[in-house]
Amino acid sequence: MTDAMGIFDIMLALVLPWLGWRLLASPNLFRAVVLFISLGLLMSLAWVRLHAPDVALAEAAIGAGLTGALFLSALRRLERLRDSERRLDYAEKREEEQNLPPEKRRKSKPVAYVLALFLLSVFLLLLGGALLKTPVAPGRLGPAVAGQMGQSGVQSRVTAVLLNFRGYDTLLEVMVLFLAALGVWSLTRVRQTPQEKVPGPVLATLVRLLVPLMITVAGYLVWIGSSRAGGAFQGGAVLAAAGVLLLLANVTVVRQIPSTLLRWALVLGPLLFLLSAVACMSIGGNLLEYPRQSAGSWILLIESATAVSIGVTLAALYAGGRPHEPAAREAIVDKSADTKVKNGEGA
């Protein structure tokens, strides 16, 4: 490697923590989020340098893009809440404002912070020393994976590990996403965007152009996953980006998606993954033990379903709440039980 790349590495290795420090130290939240997004992008550069293309893709799409989008929407919602608060009880708000210092790092007990800082530095020294001293274990699981690549049914080693050798991890991983969606839906209801808000011309054309492109790119990523960098997560992320675009553009078709279809889309990936895992059991193997010869097609099937679900889930997470169920469906869900108890406190 030419020393140029060496210099680039040094530069990158220094910029990342500096950016992190600037991010947390910035007084304005919006600037912090923007810095966070740029940190994400630089991080994906680092992954590329470390020969981890899959991770780079995922970091760029999910780490920087979607997480940044989530932060921005959350920030907007916080501002809106604070304004509504102000309108709501102006007097009490005023009084609270006075006795509370402006929203910058509030100095609570300094002694605890100093102590924490000192302990942190001691910990860093210990960790750094330990890292320096111990060599990386030779080869680790790399050669084992290479050895088994034959039966994995795919060429890309990361996808092989992800979906075959440690498929169970990915199954649970998809469940985590599903759980996140469940959690968000259980906590809040998505905010009613006024019908008439029509997206600006630039956004409209952008959406019209980009969305189909993104969908094809996502398809390609899922397809290429088996041989080169790509796969379900990256494809799903791109799909999610398309979803976010549509939501931003407040496209009517998105608002009309019936919630059952949305639920099925959310559930498609995990359900299919689970069923295929059980199917392997029924044809004689262990859990998730694809028949050797058709492993590749099984993996592709699972990957595509998972990609769709991940895309829809991440978009739903961006929407930040459960869609408006038509009033009728709500009633069905809560057919009142037989016992009648006087209206009481929540338990």
């Binding site: 330990a130 890292l131 649970l172 996140a180 406190e345």
Partner: protein, 501 residues
Amino acid sequence: MPDTPFWAVCLVVVPLFFAIICFVRSSLVTFLGPLAAWLNALAGLGMTLSFVHSGPLRYAIGGWQAPLGINFSIDGLSVLLVAMTAVTGLSVSMYAKGYFSLRIGSAGEINRHGHQRAYFWPVWLLLWAALNGLFLSADLFNIYVTLEIIGLAAVVLTALSGKPAARLAAMRYLLVSLLGSCCYLFGVALLYRSYGILDMTALSRLVSPAPLLWVSLALLTTGLLLKTALFPLHFWLPPAHANALAPVSAILSGLVVKASFYLILRLWGEVFAQVLPFAAYVLLGVLGCGAVLWGAVQALLQKRLKMLIAYSTVAQLGYLFIALPLIRLDPGPSAREAVILLIMAHACAKSAMFMAAGSIFLKAGHDRIDDLDGIKEVLPVSSFAFVLAGVSLMGFPPSGGFLGKWLLLGVSLASGQWWWGIMLVIGSLLAAGYVYRIACHLLVFKASFSSRRGSIPPVMEWPAVLLAVLAMILGLLAGYPLGLLEAGCPVPIHACLEVMP
């Protein structure tokens, strides 16, 4: 009779499947949820029975052997904990069924409780699957993912009740579990970096004292301590457990807290047993003593019933950590058996207590302890369940708690380090203090008790009684479950303890 691996897989797959179905067909949730609970319990029972015949075994998921693939290592400890989760989970599910139907029937806002029920079941089933997954899995990273699911599900369940206090507690709980998981992941990453193995049993043979090992173990353990709410890091537990819905607090206190302790028990008791110096165990033991004292004293100060029970969880966890040095000291199996008994007894008793407290809250309209005089007349079954659970919490004979305490006392006295035993005894005295603080109000007779109209359905009262009775007779029948434990000890750790200086 299908073999153990089949049941092991069922334990993970069935709840996941039903969670998905409940989410999709949310109108059928009132039927699907309890059905899933029964199936789960059945799977747990099946697993225990088949384990008796087949004994400990490893199940390679995806057909890939240990270092590469993820394995289930099914031994006595995991089977017992899975069985505990099955029993406790089943009774809490029955309780939840009655709880939500009562609340929906009563509460004006039909949709709020309907919504709560619609989302309680899927999240709870996911949590249950993750618990089973954690107890069975032998892969460190896989355990990280299950831990993550448990943490997230617990937070969502806590926030489900929608009260401001619950939301604040859920936020704090989430941040804590984030910090804990990050540290755990960092520990696993460093371990992988230095040993290249993720499987626990393989790791236990490879591991040798090295600076990076110490740091990674420290990180890993402290992350777990935070998630188990050991004494100095317990601040998030009481508000979360007290402000959640009744069935949710039963789940949190009874089961969720046990998951991370099980990991510590696995890591410190088996995987790294030969490597770790005894002084480290003493540190955890001392923190455990602190937890017993601080938890009990705080419990005595509380005015609200559920806060008191939550702080008693902090205290009882202290017991488990006091047992760690004793496991290291004791050549025989009795210390391990004691810890298992304590875990199982505490799970049953604490869930029964929270369920009973929930019914009491619904009936009395408040849970201020000092105004509960005479509830015995209105809710005889629940108050009996509460007192019985309290008794087994105090470690009174013939409860499982007593037997655990008895064995640990024996070990600590035999090993000459009698102070651990004395700490246990003081802890159980303090436990008696705060249990009787409530029991004296529950047992006292008062002609009139101002309670809400409408009766608590039996399906809400009897699970609490069953669990409390189980906790009590665990002592009498201790021979059977502990027999399982012996059969399943994967690495005879005491065999290699002789090697240590």
